[in-house]
């Protein structure tokens, strides 16, 4: 099996081999064969009497765990806990932003402010905070407190849930008991009901897991709102991608992880410290690049290049030109210091909850954000001085990439066609069939399959069928790496209807050509941007999201966060494709609930299909079924 189809990854994987540096791909091979009980979800370690394992063949081994839990219960419990893991990650991200906003409101975070007042006031109105002549600081304090209250347990449904989904969907969640009383309490409830001796009905456990995933949606929506208010709502920006964006004559610093709280300040300070870098012998100053979603956050707000993403993060070090990787949290490989030990690269951890043995820890705090960012950049400049020119090996691969297609941006572009009714041009083109439907690409890269192959083949198959593509997270990173976030890709790959629409919109926006083939809607925490467009369309038509020709896919999913996102996408009513087989196959019942019963309950359901062409056919069929349902 090929490891990657990304040309920069391929080149640097060869370097790794020659230099004897171990990467995730090598460690995956060392893990083979992987334990089949884990692969099928049939291993339970939730109590100290275990591990218990159910015989997946049902031949001679046990059919029940020590406590009596069946294969169905064990698989459902495992899935629920992984959704709780994903939800916790997004919730922590959201709370971090809320705390930053609260500190700003108290004058304790001087390097932050209200960057997008329009969005600030719009969000205040949506969540029901009246302005009443209060100062922005006071209002920010109220908003941050309301946001933090979402995480604890209360009697009212979460504000960011009930104000952002269709009334029909809210009613459905209430009927099924899927409204979490609080976002952190949703996680705690899953941990409780999946511990030994609590919930032992697989379907009931799955419903509990879906409730948690609804909490995940809510936290993510909140996170995106607060990020936009603090750092600006993304607007179209031309950036670049691939590891060729590292520069031989600059101090190269990668911001890596997920949260923009630190990286935004690094972007601001790097500009001011250019001369220090030049004095250290880097004529081009400081070159900031992004890895993973922290990278996408600064890409869509500042046009910072996206060097690479989660699976290939180690390869950035193998260029020999990366002077520092500044990391916050999530998807950061513990192996980075090991790889960096072959080079001069400084790995700098910054969060108290995310340290890595062997890395340099420089704890970040919002009160001294600017000063901390300067210290971090100075560490990078010091590391640059130790760079070995003989080891520099930057692959000559760079692609253009349009980013910043937030929901607000998409509506603004549509408003250029119809200022009175911005959604009308999109709806008209869906109705007349120029656009077959919309597909959101999300999720990770997964070492078990060739990096980017499923992303690229699936998207090419869908755009040929005139499917409008939104993308987030590593999907956006992957498309950027392959030049698919460009007008040229639209010319080359889009079906005639889609091409006509993207060209009309691009010309209205003054691009002189079509919009890019896929619209980069944000980082992985930003998936609710796409959901908000779907909700707006549904509300306009007076139907629920589950009636719309909208689907989602995580073709190369890897992380627990992808599991929780996929689950809320299903709960919101979207047919959701996954291109890797999740650890649920040990329970035919769980598989049936996720892929079939869910359709009756929510309209959304999972489609598991590793082959990109077959997956495309299944997603197109799902879109056509929705169109038929609407009579178009």
């Amino acid at each position: 099996m090929e490891r990657s189809i990304s040309p920069d990854s391929i080149l640097l994987l060869k370097t790794a081999q020659t230099a004897g540096v171990t990467t995730a791909w090598d460690r995956y091979e060392a893990q083979l064969p992987q334990c089949g009980f884990g692969e099928t979800g049939l291993c339970c370690r939730h109590c100290l009497q275990g591990p218990c394992r159910i015989d997946p063949f049902g031949v001679s081994g046990p059919k029940y765990g020590i406590c009596g839990a069946s294969a169905d219960v064990i698989v459902a419990r495992g899935l629920a806990r992984s959704i709780a893991g994903g939800t916790s990650s997004h919730s922590a991200h959201a709370k971090h932003l809320a705390h930053t906003m609260l500190k700003f409101s108290r004058g304790e975070a001087p390097d932050y402010g209200i960057k997008d007042k329009d969005k600030f006031y719009a969000v205040l109105q949506r969540v029901g905070i009246t302005r009443d002549g209060k100062s922005d600081e006071e209002l920010a304090g109220e908003l941050a407190q309301l946001a933090l209250d979402e995480f604890s347990e209360r009697e009212e449904p979460p504000v960011w849930l009930k104000t952002t989904i269709t009334p029909a969907r809210m009613q459905k969640f209430e009927q099924l008991g899927l409204v979490p009383p609080g976002l952190d309490s949703a996680v705690a409830e899953v941990m409780h009901r999946t511990t030994n001796g609590v919930d032992a009905d697989a379907v009931n456990i799955l419903l509990g897991a879906i409730k948690c995933a609804v909490g995940d949606y809510t936290g993510m929506y909140l996170a995106t709102d607060l990020s936009d208010i603090l750092f600006g709502t993304p607007a179209p920006v031309m950036a670049r991608a691939n590891l060729g964006t590292l520069k031989e004559n600059a101090v190269n610093i990668a911001v890596h992880g997920h949260n923009p709280v630190l990286s935004e300040v690094i972007v601001a300070q790097a500009e001011l410290m250019r001369d220090e870098a030049i004095a250290a012998g880097a004529p081009e100053g400081i070159n900031l690049v992004g890895i993973c979603c922290t990278g996408l956050e600064v890409m869509m707000r500042h046009g910072i290049p996206s060097a690479t993403n989660s699976l290939s993060q180690e390869l950035a070090i193998l260029t020999g030109a990366l002077d520092a990787a500044v990391v916050d949290y999530q998807c950061i490989m513990p192996s980075l210091p090991m790889v960096a030990s072959h080079y001069h690269t400084a790995i700098i951890t910054t969060m108290s909850i995310a340290k890595i043995t062997g890395a340099h820890h420089l704890e970040f705090d919002e009160k001294h954000a600017g000063q901390k960012a300067q210290e971090i950049i100075r560490l990078a400049i010091e590391a640059f001085k130790k760079r070995d020119p003989a080891k520099v090996n930057i692959p000559p691969v760079v692609n253009d990439a349009w980013a910043g297609m937030s929901a607000e941006t998409i509506v603004k572009v549509l408003a250029l066609v119809d200022p009175e009714d911005p959604l009308k041009p999109l709806l008209d083109n869906i109705v007349n069939g120029n656009i077959l439907g919309v597909c959101l690409f999300a999720g990770c890269n997964d070492v078990k399959i060739t990096q980017d192959k499923t992303f690229v083949e699936l998207v090419k198959a869908l755009v040929a069928e005139n499917v409008l593509i939104l993308c987030t997270g590593c999907a956006a990173g992957s498309f950027a790496r392959h030049g698919l976030l460009t007008p040229a890709a639209t010319e080359k790959y889009a079906g005639p209807g889609l091409k006509a629409v993207l060209t009309a919109l691009g010309q209205a926006a003054g691009l002189g050509g079509p919009l890019p083939l896929a619209l980069h809607t944000g980082s992985c925490v930003d998936n609710t941007r796409a959901a908000s467009i779907a909700t707006a369309l549904a509300n306009k038509l007076g139907v629920d999201v589950s009636a719309l020709p909208v689907v989602a896919t995580a073709p190369e999913a890897a992380m627990e966060k992808a599991v929780s996102i996929g689950t809320w996408a299903v709960a919101m009513g979207l047919p959701t494709h996954v291109g890797v087989v999740p650890p649920v196959t040990g329970s035919p019942l769980v598989v049936q609930v996720l892929t079939q019963t869910a359709k009756d309950l929510f309209g959304g359901y999972f489609i598991v299909e590793p082959d990109p062409q077959t997956a495309a056919a299944k997603l197109v069929a799902a879109l056509k079924e929705r169109r038929a349902g609407l009579g178009i």
């Binding site: 099996m1 091979e29 083979l32 064969p33 992987q34 334990c35 089949g36 009980f37 884990g38 692969e39 099928t40 394992r53 015989d55 997946p56 063949f57 031949v59 001679s60 081994g61 046990p62 078990k448 399959i449 060739t450 890797v580 087989v581 590793p610």
Partner: protein, 185 residues
Amino acid sequence: MKRLFVRPELCTGCKTCEIACTVEHSKNKHLLGAMMESPPPHTRVYVEAVLNGHFDVFKMPMTCRHCDPAPCMAACIPQAMYRTVEGVVTNVGGLHACIACGMCVMMCPFGMIARAPALDGKVMALKCDLCPDRAVPACADACPTGAILFLEGDDFAHQSRLRASVILSNAKSLRETTITQSLEE
């Protein structure tokens, strides 16, 4: 004599057999103690993976066949490798000492011999001894799916025949239905 037999179609790749074998060939004979030992104890059974493509990994438990004649015995210059009266091919407890020359490692067609430190620290050829202290070797005893079996050769073949017979009996009823249908037509 009973031997180890493998049904690869039942292997999940959990490597419980490797752990059980390692523990059985440790000083402590329990997992926690075995993990603390120096030199570390060594497995004599292995689960190998053949990566055929996306999500298609063939998992194969590899055990010593105790061949007869055994290439490892034939290649053993000091004649340390011998066959016990029970038919077990081993270099432990024989007339001559293993000199760790590695000839048996080279000759074993299945790669079932490791050259590594034994419990006393002396490097030698380490291989399956069918667990002389146990009624059933640790690997077969530990396998949670019955992919590794300790049986007489005839019994294993008999079990295989029975499984095949069930398939054939299904085919027979299908064949009869087909014949009846074609006669009716």
